[in-house]
């Protein structure tokens, strides 16, 4: 038997399935269905070694109940803790919503070799297009870009929510609006009496963007139904398919390329993604 094993995960851990202990430090209810969790590793060494890229995700264990993948939404340059924005919708997320500050959870990761290519995106105009909870993974990139603002040209966020009360990261959005080096446009499907902003789906705002074709990157994250329509609008603008990046969601059980649930064609969302370029997606049937 010749097993030529090349260890990629060089750590002292003897199993890729063992989570590290972490603590929920702070919980903020940011919409009727979403909470924002600040998470810190129990062991300082783990916290110091936890370096993630914008667009990466973690596998979160609620002990005795289950494990699920969540995208990180905080600034990668913040080394004190990281944040997850979680909707109360499944087994694990439901349990998390019932937990209190100080509760212990398990974390594996960060995972995903395909993250937002912030280095390639330097010296480009950036359009970020988010639908609903899709804003969460993009927040990590926005915060990174603002941290290194001089490396990027114009930055614009287009964000669509179902109704005004479902708008996530309201404090951040307000802060972005107060800065003059980033523009944000929020649109809702169902406005209430007080809403004075845009109404409708976020795709209808794309034609208004007038960034030049040659040095513009677009990043997209939202519900599955959104991608097709956003891509149509972006293609009308003739942006290069290698400069449009989309973060995809799939069912994941392991996060490390073994359980196979997240496969699309010959790619695995967990190890090859979750962020793919539009060119990659065009070559992956059923990606969108």
């Amino acid at each position: 038997m010749t097993l030529n094993v090349k260890y990629n995960n060089k750590s002292n851990k003897s199993s890729i399935y063992v989570p590290e202990l972490a603590r929920i430090n702070k919980i903020q209810q940011i919409s009727p269905t979403e909470k924002l969790f600040d998470i810190v590793f129990e062991d300082d060494k783990n916290q110091n070694n936890f370096n993630f890229e914008p667009g990466q995700f973690v596998e979160l264990t609620v002990f005795g109940l289950g494990e699920a993948p969540f995208s990180i939404c905080s600034n990668p340059e913040n080394k004190d803790f990281f944040q997850l924005c979680i909707r109360d919708i499944g087994n694990v997320s439901g349990a998390l919503h019932r937990m209190k500050e100080g509760s212990k959870i398990g974390i594996r990761g960060p995972y995903g070799n395909g993250y937002f290519p912030y280095e390639k995106m330097r010296n480009h105009n950036i359009i970020l297009i988010a639908g609903g909870l899709g804003l969460a993974p993009l927040m990590s990139l926005v915060k990174y870009i603002l941290h290194h603002r001089e490396d990027y040209k114009e930055v614009m966020i287009i964000y669509g929510a179902v109704n005004p009360e479902n708008i996530l990261f309201k404090d951040d959005i307000q802060y972005f609006s107060s800065r003059n080096d980033i523009s944000i446009c929020v649109t809702v499907d169902n406005p209430d009496a007080e809403w004075t902003g845009e109404v409708g789906v976020c795709t209808k705002l794309i034609p208004r963007v007038d960034f030049p074709v040659e040095d513009t990157c677009a990043v997209v994250c939202g519900p599955p139904v959104m991608y097709k329509f956003v891509i149509i609008e972006l293609e009308k603008k003739n942006y290069s398919s290698e400069k449009v990046f989309l973060s995809l969601e799939r069912r994941m059980e392991c996060g490390v390329g073994k359980c196979n649930h997240c496969h699309i064609g010959d790619k695995l969302v967990c190890v090859d993604g979750p962020v793919f370029s539009l060119w990659q997606i065009k070559n992956l049937k059923e990606a969108i």
Binding site: F63, G90, V271
Partner: protein, 343 residues
């Protein structure tokens, strides 16, 4: 590779010594048609002239249907530890295509991230291969899998009056030295071996046109009518996955004992044919149609890993054809894709 021959008279004693010195797993007759690889305590239980085994032996041993991965204690403090259990075993009588299936799993479970649970078991598994009779649904020569050139310690080929042994590891060589008497294989032994192999290869009757599949599949992929026809009778039962020597999909679940303190993470086999395979929280299903799931299975088996590893994730054992309740035949379907495109 070293080549030795063993006399018929000492073969039985060799097997007996292995049974008494190791945890020994070999083929045992289960009923008229099927054998199963189970722990063997006495040589009388062992029947190496088998034809059908429903569950592939290597998958069952190396990647069990359910397996504890992590154990934890939930008290004031939470303690988490990995569970990696393995013991030395002899797997005796596994055939060439099942060894090739195991070789695929080897490659899969150590790529990107190393799965210690699989790897530890694999390292401790002493593999002694022997040929078995192919079934009518076997097309392993088309998949380059009827012959194993790696993945075993010893491979024993039964010639008329002696056994021709290929020795692939130092461990295999030591076992052979310790428990038997062998001689170096000479020209006449190789001649007889070659003759044997010629006859052996003639036993495989089913031929599958896999070479053109790679490109044709992309053309036929969007042909809904074709896939509706292929998947028409599919019950989405997942039998094909259970019987496959290379299928590896699994779910991970967390459980807690009744004392509400001890918990664990367990993985259990999953099937890409089940409707909930692509279901995510919130109720969106990325693969709601059986046609879609079936063609994705074909892509996984016949294309994905050709790109990734340069080999198919199908060894042509034909088990999925035999166990399919709806008589969906992967061999026929591969051939009909070529026909469909050529018309």
């Amino acid at each position: 590779m070293l080549y030795k021959v063993m006399g018929r008279d000492v073969f039985k004693d060799f097997v007996k010594s292995l049974i008494s010195n190791y945890e020994f797993i070999g083929p045992k007759r289960k009923d008229k048609a099927v054998h199963d690889f189970v722990p063997i305590k006495d040589i009388s239980e062992l029947d190496i002239n088998y034809k059908r085994t429903t569950i592939p032996p290597a998958k069952k041993i190396l990647f069990p249907p359910d397996e504890k991965l992590v154990a934890y204690e939930v008290n004031e403090k939470i303690k988490v530890r990995p569970v990696v259990e393995s013991s030395e075993k002899v797997l005796f009588g596994i055939n060439a295509w099942d060894i090739n299936g195991m070789n695929f799993l080897d490659r899969f479970f150590v790529t990107d991230f190393v799965d210690e649970n699989y790897l530890e078991r694999r390292k401790k598994l002493i593999v002694i291969g022997m040929d078995s009779e192919p079934t009518e649904t076997n097309f392993s020569p088309s998949m380059d899998s009827e012959y194993a050139k790696d993945g075993f310690d010893l491979y024993i080929t039964e010639l008329k009056d002696r056994y021709f042994i290929r020795i692939n590891t130092a461990r295999g060589d030591e076992i052979l030295k310790k428990y038997s008497v062998t001689e170096n294989a000479l020209v006449k032994d190789f001649k007889d071996y070659n003759n044997y192999m010629d006859n052996y290869r003639k036993k495989f009757k089913l031929d599958v046109n896999i070479k053109d599949f790679y490109d044709n599949f992309e053309l036929i992929y969007d042909d809904d009518e074709f896939w509706e026809k292929v998947a028409k009778n599919c019950y989405s039962c997942g039998s094909c996955n259970l019987a496959c020597p290379t299928c590896f999909c699994f779910n991970v679940k967390d459980d807690i004992e009744l004392n509400l303190k001890d918990g664990n993470k367990t993985r259990e086999w999953d099937s890409c044919m089940l409707p909930e395979y692509g279901l995510v929280a919130g109720g969106h299903n990325f693969r709601p149609d059986k046609e879609n799931r079936l063609k994705q299975r074909y892509r996984c088996k016949l294309k994905t890993f050709l790109d990734k590893f340069g080999r198919y994730a199908c060894v042509g054992c034909g088990r999925c054809i035999e166990v399919c309740l709806a008589k969906i035949n992967i061999a026929d379907n591969i051939n009909s894709i070529k026909k469909e495109v050529s018309v």
